[in-house]
C-alpha cells in the first residue's frame, strides 16, 4: 500500500442511512487509501454503473461494490442481474450486504454473479481482508494487461 497509488473506489449501495454510516466508519478504520461513493437505491446503482465509461473524475470506476440486498425500486439482486453481460463490469467484485446469510439469498446472489458476502453488522477484519484482496488484484491487473498506459 504505497501512497503513490490512487485510492480504491468503493461503491456502497445502501438505502439505510445508519447502515451507510456503519459502512463508512468501518472503511475509515482500514488503513488503505480509499474513496467511498454512496448510492441510495438499486436504480441509482444501475444508472451509475451502466450510464458512463467512468472517465470523469467524480464518476470513477468502482474497485469494489458493497451492495445491500433490500433496496427501494430495484433490489440488490436486480442490480446484479443488470450488471451481468456487461464486459466492462465483469471484473468488479461485488460483496453483498445483508442482515441474514439466509441460504436463499446466498444461492440467488451467487447465481447472479456476486463475489462474496458480508453479513451485517459489518465485521471490520473481514472488510479489511476483502479490501486487501481487491487492492492486490488491481495491482496485478494493472501490471499485466493495462501496463503503464493505465497507471498515472
Amino acid at each position: 500500500m504505497t501512497t503513490g497509488e490512487s485510492p480504491l473506489v468503493v461503491l456502497l449501495v445502501e438505502d439505510d442511512d445508519a447502515h451507510a454510516e456503519i459502512a463508512r466508519r468501518s472503511l475509515v478504520r482500514i488503513p488503505s487509501a480509499k474513496r467511498l461513493i454512496r448510492l441510495q437505491d438499486g436504480q441509482a446503482a444501475l444508472d451509475y454503473l451502466l450510464g458512463s465509461n467512468f472517465a470523469e473524475p467524480d464518476h470513477p470506476r468502482p474497485d469494489l461494490i458493497l451492495l445491500d440486498m433490500r433496496l427501494p425500486k430495484v433490489s440488490g439482486l436486480e442490480v446484479l442481474r443488470g450488471m451481468q453481460g456487461e464486459p466492462a463490469l465483469d471484473s468488479i467484485p461485488v460483496a453483498i450486504l445483508t442482515t441474514s446469510a439466509a441460504e436463499v439469498d446466498v444461492m440467488k446472489a451467487y447465481r447472479e454473479g456476486a463475489g462474496g458476502f458480508l453479513v451485517k453488522p459489518l465485521n471490520v477484519e473481514k472488510l479489511a481482508k476483502l479490501m486487501d484482496e481487491v487492492g492486490l488484484s488491481r495491482r496485478a491487473r494493472s501490471g499485466h494487461s493495462d501496463g503503464p498506459t493505465r497507471s498515472k
Partner: protein, 809 residues
C-alpha cells in the same frame, strides 16, 4: 364437501363395477352357448322340444347353433376386459371368419338355396308349419353378419373409444331390438314371417340374439368406462336397470294378457259364427233331403199313378197308358228339376223314362231292387257314380205296388238327382265373402273319409278324394269319427284350419265347415302386428328414455366432478400463492426488523468507543442513530400488528357514502395535508360503499397520505377522489398530480416494506395494508402512472359499491 366425500368412493367402487359387468358378459355368452348347444343336442338325441324350445316350434338350425357357439366363445374371451394383444387378435380373426360365413349363408338363404351342409352331418328332415327345418333364416344370417361386425369393431375399439365403439353399440342395440320383436311375437302366439317365403328365425335363435346383443353392448360400453364411477352412481344405474326391467316385464305381461283376452274373445266370436253357419248348412241339407223324400212319398201308395204304371206293364202296347205315365214323370221332373225320372218293373226293365232316351240299367240299383220292393218305403240312394257315364248322382227310390192285386210289387220309381245342380249349390253358398271358407260333405267309406262334393281348392274331389281315418289332424276325419263342434287341424290342402263338424241326421253324411286359420285370424294377426310393434316401440322408447336419464345423471356427475376438481385446482393455486406471499412476508419482516437491530448493536459499540474518547459530538450522533432505529422498529412492529388485524378483527359491514369515508380520512391526515398545501376534491355522485367502515377509511387515509408524500414540488398539488364505471362495475380512484411512478416499478408498490424512494419516511407498509383491506372486501387494486412527474392514479373496487338512487327522482 359432499362432493369431495363422494369422490373418495371412486377407487374402491371401480373393481366391483367392472367385476359385475364381467359377470354379466359371461352370463350373456353362456346363455348364447347354452341355447345353441341345447338345440344341437335336441337334434342329436331326437328331442324336438329342445331344438325349438317347445313342441311344434321351429327349431334352431345346426348352422345357426354353430355360429352362436362361435360368437359366444368370442364374447366370453372378451369378458375379462383389458385382455392382451393376442386375445384381441384372436377375437378379431373369429369375427372376420364369422362375418364371411354369415355373408355366404345370408346370400344362400335369401336365394332360397338350402345346402345339406347346414345340417352338420345330422339327419334332419321335415317341416314345421310348412317351413323346412334345419336351415338358417336370412334374418338370422343377417343378424350374425351384424354381430360379427360389432364384435370386430369392439375389439378394434378396445383402446380408442370413439366412433367405432359407438357403431358397435348401435349395432348391438339394433340386434337386441330386432330380436326382441321376434321374441315378443313368439310370446304373443303370432310368430313373425311364418307365412312368407323365407324361413323365419326360431324362438331360441331370437332369444340367443337378445343375449348376444346384450353381451356385445356390455363389451362395447367398456371402452367408454375409463373414468371411475362412484359406488353410489353404480347403485343408481342398477336401480335404473331393475326399474326398467320391472316396467318392461309389466308391459309384456299385461300386453300378453290383454292380447290373450282379445284373441279368445275374437276367437269365440268367430267360432260361434262358424258354428251357426255350419248348423244352418246342416239343417238346410237335412231339409233338402226331407223334401226329396217327400217328393218320393207323393208316389208311394199313389193309386192313380200305380194304375197307370200297372196298365203300362200289363199291356206294353197300351200307348195311351204310356202317354199318361210319361205325363206324370214329366211333371215330376219339371217340378223339381230331377236329372232323370224313370220307372222300372220288378225285373229292372225300364217301363218309361223322362227324358225318354234309353239308358242301360245300373247294376247296383238292380241289386238293391228286391230289398227296396220289400221295404214299402221311400229311400234315398246315397252318392254314387253312374256306371254308364261315371256321373255322380243321388236317387230317390219309391217302390210301387199293384192296385189290382194289393201288396204285389209292381216296380220302382226313381227320381235321379244331379247334385251339381241340386245339392252342391246349397253347400257352396256362404253368407259372407270369404277367401277360404267352404262346406264339405263327407261320409265314412271303409277306413277312409270320402269327400262327397267338389272342393274349392281341389276340383274333382267329389267321390274321389279319400283321406285315411288315421290322419286325425284332418277335421273331416274327426267329424266322421263322431266329433262335433269346433275342431282345429290341418285340412286336405295342408293348411291350418278351424272347422265345425256336425252329422246330418238320418244320413251317413257329415257336414264340415272350414276356414283357413290364416283368414280367420288374419285381421287379428294384423292387430297383433300392430300390438307387437306398439309394445316393442313402447319398450324401446322407455328404454332409451331410461338410458338417457341415466346418461344425463352420469354426465351431471362427471360435470360435478370436473367442477370440484377445478375448484380444488383454483384453491390449490390460491393456497400456493398465499404460501409464497407468506414466505415473502417472513423474509421481509426478518430483514426489515433486523435492520434497525443491526443499527442499534453497531452504534452501541461506536457509542462505547466514543464515550471512551470523550467525543461528545459523535456520542450525540450515535445516540441519534440508535434512537432512530428504535423508533423505526417500533413503527414497523405497530404496522405489522395493524396488518395482521385486517381480516382477523373485522367490524360489522355497514353502508355509508363515499364522501363520509373520504372526509374521515382527510381529518386523520389533516395536519400533513395542511402542511403541504394539497387540495383534495371528492366527487359528489351518491356513491354508497359497503363494508368495514374503519378499514375503508384507512384505505383512503393511506392513499391520500401516500399521494401527499409523493407530491414532489408540484406547484398546485391536488388529489382527486372519484369513480368510473367499467363493465357494470364501479371502480373507485384516487388520483394525484405528484411525482408519479416509473412504470417499471409499478408492480412493486403494493408489496410489503417496498419503498420506491429511500428518502421518504415510512416503512413501506401502507400500500400493503391497503391492498389487504381491498382484498378482504373482495376487490382488486392497481396503480397507473404515465411515468415520473406524471402523477399517479390508484384504482380499486370494493364489493357492494353502488350508486344510490337520488331521492328526488
Amino acid at each position: 364437501m359432499m362432493c369431495a366425500g363422494r369422490s373418495t368412493t371412486v377407487a374402491s367402487s371401480r373393481g366391483s363395477r367392472s367385476g359385475s359387468r364381467r359377470a354379466a358378459i359371461v352370463v350373456c355368452a353362456s346363455a348364447v352357448i347354452v341355447l345353441a348347444v341345447s338345440a344341437v343336442a335336441g337334434f342329436v338325441f331326437h328331442h324336438p322340444e329342445w331344438t325349438g324350445l317347445g313342441n311344434a316350434r321351429l327349431p334352431m338350425a345346426p348352422s345357426t347353433a354353430a355360429l352362436f357357439v362361435w360368437h359366444g366363445v368370442a364374447l366370453a374371451l372378451l369378458s375379462k376386459g383389458g385382455e392382451g394383444r393376442r386375445i384381441r387378435w384372436l377375437v378379431y380373426g373369429m369375427a372376420a371368419v364369422a362375418s364371411v360365413v354369415a355373408s355366404v349363408l345370408l346370400v344362400l338363404a335369401a336365394a332360397g338355396i338350402r345346402p345339406r351342409l347346414e345340417h352338420l352331418g345330422m339327419a334332419i328332415e321335415g317341416q314345421v308349419r310348412g317351413i323346412p327345418i334345419g336351415h338358417i333364416s336370412p334374418v338370422t344370417a343377417g343378424g350374425f353378419l351384424l354381430a360379427s361386425i360389432a364384435l370386430g369393431l369392439v375389439v378394434r375399439a378396445a383402446r380408442s373409444h370413439g366412433p367405432l365403439a359407438a357403431v358397435a353399440k348401435a349395432i348391438s342395440g339394433i340386434l337386441i331390438a330386432a330380436a326382441l320383436v321376434f321374441v315378443l311375437a313368439y310370446g304373443y302366439g303370432k310368430p313373425l314371417m311364418h307365412e312368407g317365403g323365407f324361413i323365419p328365425p326360431a324362438l331360441n335363435t331370437s332369444l340367443a340374439f337378445v343375449a348376444l346383443g346384450a353381451g356385445l353392448l356390455l363389451v362395447s360400453v367398456r371402452g367408454t368406462d375409463h373414468a371411475a364411477i362412484p359406488l353410489s352412481s353404480t347403485r343408481k344405474s342398477g336401480a335404473y336397470a331393475a326399474g326398467y326391467l320391472l316396467f318392461a316385464v309389466g308391459i309384456i305381461v299385461s300386453g300378453s294378457n290383454y292380447q290373450r283376452g282379445v284373441t279368445s274373445q275374437y276367437r269365440s266370436k268367430l267360432e260361434s259364427e262358424l258354428a251357426s253357419i255350419s248348423e244352418l248348412k246342416i239343417s238346410e241339407i237335412a231339409l233338402w233331403r226331407e223334401e226329396r223324400l217327400g217328393d218320393g212319398s207323393l208316389f208311394l201308395d199313389n193309386w192313380p199313378f200305380a194304375e197307370v204304371v200297372e196298365d203300362c206293364i200289363g199291356n206294353p202296347n197300351d200307348d195311351a197308358a204310356k202317354e199318361r205315365l210319361r205325363e206324370w214323370l214329366y211333371k215330376e221332373r219339371q217340378s223339381y228339376g230331377y236329372d232323370r225320372v224313370f220307372v222300372w218293373d220288378t225285373q229292372g226293365a225300364e217301363v218309361a223314362a223322362e227324358p225318354e232316351h234309353a239308358e242301360a240299367s245300373e247294376s247296383h240299383l238292380l241289386a238293391l231292387l228286391p230289398s227296396i220292393l220289400r221295404g214299402h218305403d221311400v229311400s234315398l240312394m246315397d252318392f254314387h257314380r253312374e256306371e254308364s257315364n261315371d256321373a255322380i248322382r243321388l236317387s230317390v227310390l219309391v217302390p210301387l205296388y199293384s192296385v189290382r192285386r194289393p201288396g204285389q210289387p209292381l216296380g220302382l220309381l226313381v227320381l235321379r238327382i244331379d247334385p251339381e245342380k241340386a245339392l252342391y249349390p246349397i253347400l257352396r253358398r256362404w253368407p259372407t265373402p270369404t277367401r277360404s271358407a267352404e262346406t264339405l260333405l263327407v261320409r265314412r267309406d271303409g277306413e277312409d273319409v270320402l269327400y262327397l262334393n267338389d272342393l274349392r281348392f281341389h276340383p274333382g274331389a267329389a267321390m274321389s278324394l279319400r283321406i285315411g281315418l288315421a290322419r286325425e289332424e284332418v277335421p273331416a276325419v274327426q267329424g266322421v269319427l263322431g266329433r262335433t263342434g269346433i275342431l282345429e287341424g290341418v285340412d286336405y290342402k295342408g293348411s291350418e284350419v278351424v272347422a265345425y263338424a256336425g252329422p246330418v241326421e238320418g244320413t251317413p253324411w257329415t257336414v264340415v265347415t272350414r276356414m283357413d286359420s290364416a283368414e280367420l285370424f288374419g285381421p287379428l294377426a294384423e292387430r297383433m302386428w300392430l300390438f307387437v310393434l306398439l309394445v316393442s316401440s313402447l319398450l324401446l322408447t322407455s328404454g332409451s328414455a331410461v338410458a338417457l336419464i341415466w346418461r344425463n345423471q352420469r354426465v351431471r356427475f362427471f360435470r360435478e366432478q370436473a367442477m370440484v376438481a377445478e375448484e380444488l385446482r383454483v384453491s390449490r393455486e390460491d393456497l400456493q400463492q398465499r404460501n409464497e406471499e407468506l414466505t415473502r412476508f417472513t423474509y421481509a419482516v426478518s430483514h426489515d426488523l433486523k435492520s434497525p437491530l443491526v443499527t442499534i448493536q453497531t452504534f452501541a459499540g461506536y457509542l462505547d468507543e466514543d464515550i471512551g474518547q470523550g467525543d461528545s459530538e459523535s456520542i450525540r450522533k450515535d445516540l441519534d442513530f440508535i434512537r432512530g432505529a428504535a423508533g423505526k422498529m417500533s413503527t414497523l412492529l405497530d404496522e405489522l400488528l395493524e396488518l395482521s388485524r385486517v381480516g382477523r378483527i373485522k367490524n360489522p359491514d355497514e353502508e355509508f357514502p363515499l364522501q363520509d369515508a373520504v372526509n374521515d380520512a382527510q381529518r386523520l391526515v389533516a395536519g400533513r395535508i395542511a402542511a403541504s398545501g394539497v387540495s383534495v376534491g371528492v366527487t359528489d355522485e351518491p356513491i354508497v360503499l359497503r363494508g368495514d367502515r374503519v378499514r375503508i377509511v384507512e384505505v383512503f387515509q393511506n392513499l391520500i397520505d401516500n399521494a401527499v408524500k409523493f407530491m414532489g414540488d408540484q406547484e398546485e398539488p391536488h388529489i382527486e377522489v372519484g369513480f368510473e364505471e367499467s363493465n357494470g362495475e364501479i371502480v373507485l380512484l384516487v388520483r394525484d398530480n405528484g411525482i408519479g411512478i416509473d412504470p417499471r416499478h409499478i408492480s412493486k408498490i403494493f408489496g410489503l416494506f417496498e419503498k420506491l424512494d429511500a428518502r421518504t419516511e415510512g416503512t413501506g407498509m401502507g400500500l400493503a395494508l391497503v391492498r389487504r383491506i381491498v382484498e378482504i372486501h373482495r376487490g382488486r387494486i392497481w396503480a397507473e402512472s404515465a411515468g415520473p412527474g406524471q402523477g399517479t392514479c390508484i384504482r380499486f373496487t370494493l364489493a357492494g359499491t353502488r350508486i344510490a338512487t337520488r331521492k328526488r327522482s
